[in-house]
Symmetry: C2
Subunit: 262 residues, 2 copies
Amino acid sequence: MRIVLIGAGNLATNLAPALGSNHRVVQVWSRTEASAQALGHRLECPFTTELSQVVTDADIYIISVVDSALSDIARTLTEHISQDAIVAHTAGSMPMSVICHPNAGVFYPMQTFSRDKQVDFWDIPIFVEGHSPWANKVLMELAYDLSQSVYPLSSEDRRYLHVAAVFACNFANHCYDLSSRLLEAHGIPFSVMLPLIEETARKVHTLHPHDAQTGPAVRHDHNVMERHADMLADNPDMQALYRTMSQSIISAFASNDKPTNQ
Amino acid sequence: MRIVLIGAGNLATNLAPALGSNHRVVQVWSRTEASAQALGHRLECPFTTELSQVVTDADIYIISVVDSALSDIARTLTEHISQDAIVAHTAGSMPMSVICHPNAGVFYPMQTFSRDKQVDFWDIPIFVEGHSPWANKVLMELAYDLSQSVYPLSSEDRRYLHVAAVFACNFANHCYDLSSRLLEAHGIPFSVMLPLIEETARKVHTLHPHDAQTGPAVRHDHNVMERHADMLADNPDMQALYRTMSQSIISAFASNDKPTNQ
């Protein structure tokens, strides 16, 4: 497939080398000259900063830009490219409908990307949606060339996937951050927590997180919880979070096992 | 050193084989006959279920029992053993003072242990406290025989270490659990989240968790946060937690970088 990359950020930079020999990036667009040039040189392909200069006859256009720019860029792009092409964005939190094109689609690899560290796409789940059966088929095949875990997913369900990722990653990281502050305030380096953090993350590979839950809340150890809350009195935000979290754990175990969110 | 293990649970079972050739377990006590016998056979040493039958002349007594039983067991034990011996418990959340003995101590390896899976002690941080310089010296040396990361830590600071572990591990795991519910309610297997969970845990090995924070809250993306909260309307607990967490992230970044908990 002849692919045009719209956007030359972290995702595009990681995606391009993973495409392999079945596919060829024929052009790179970026609003920023330096980014367009850097990725163009890296892939040995033409680049441009003008959407009007984007080739009109590629097979797939992959738009990886910041959410706020996606709608405008998609509109300008779809005005002049072929109606037979496929135009997909890579944004986890944006609906497919933001692209108005008969072969619109979504191609969402769920991982944190950084420009400097090449990631192995093979382990990254890719979520695919196609407005037409053709877009769906081509994007699914492209995903299977890159990854061992590929899922068709509607825009509606992808919104929940995104919230789920906020819980599992952004919120988990904030728990690490609060932990680091408590430690550092008592002269203990955060690094002491790393083996336990790693084990906690590794455990849920083999055990459902519900079954892996430990700590005072799941044991209903109200003495310990009250002592902990008292120790956090200096920091009302952290104390409130401790209480809300503990209550949420207690609720999760008060109803039946593994309740759904309904 | 001649060591007696008081308690034959997960920690003792993992600790014993890690002691190496510098030390020898001379006896195992457990309230439960089967546990005492199992570990005694495994270590090829005598075992007993009677505290009164515990040998009185060992060098170190390591008490690894449930928190609620610790005080009583320590009292009975210290009544008849030598005043020159060292008596340490392994409980992260209990003060050293729960053991009334001139050479009382704490020997706390911070990790989740399970009986069936032998862990590598070398990577586990061990926190040591001694009531006497002698207890401190001997327990520090024992810790260094087992682990590359050993820290002297007072009972007071260890309480904060424990709260920090609740945040980084128990609460992080609950975030995984809530994530799994959201996913499963929309027909998405939790396993799709594992690469992102792993990367989030791995990232904080090289980046301070404060600097690793991503997501809508740290971006002040109130549109996304409100959309997410609306999507959780069916589950008021989860919605409350989403809001408290997001607010806590915003607060963490509103003040200066890496504020302490003071």
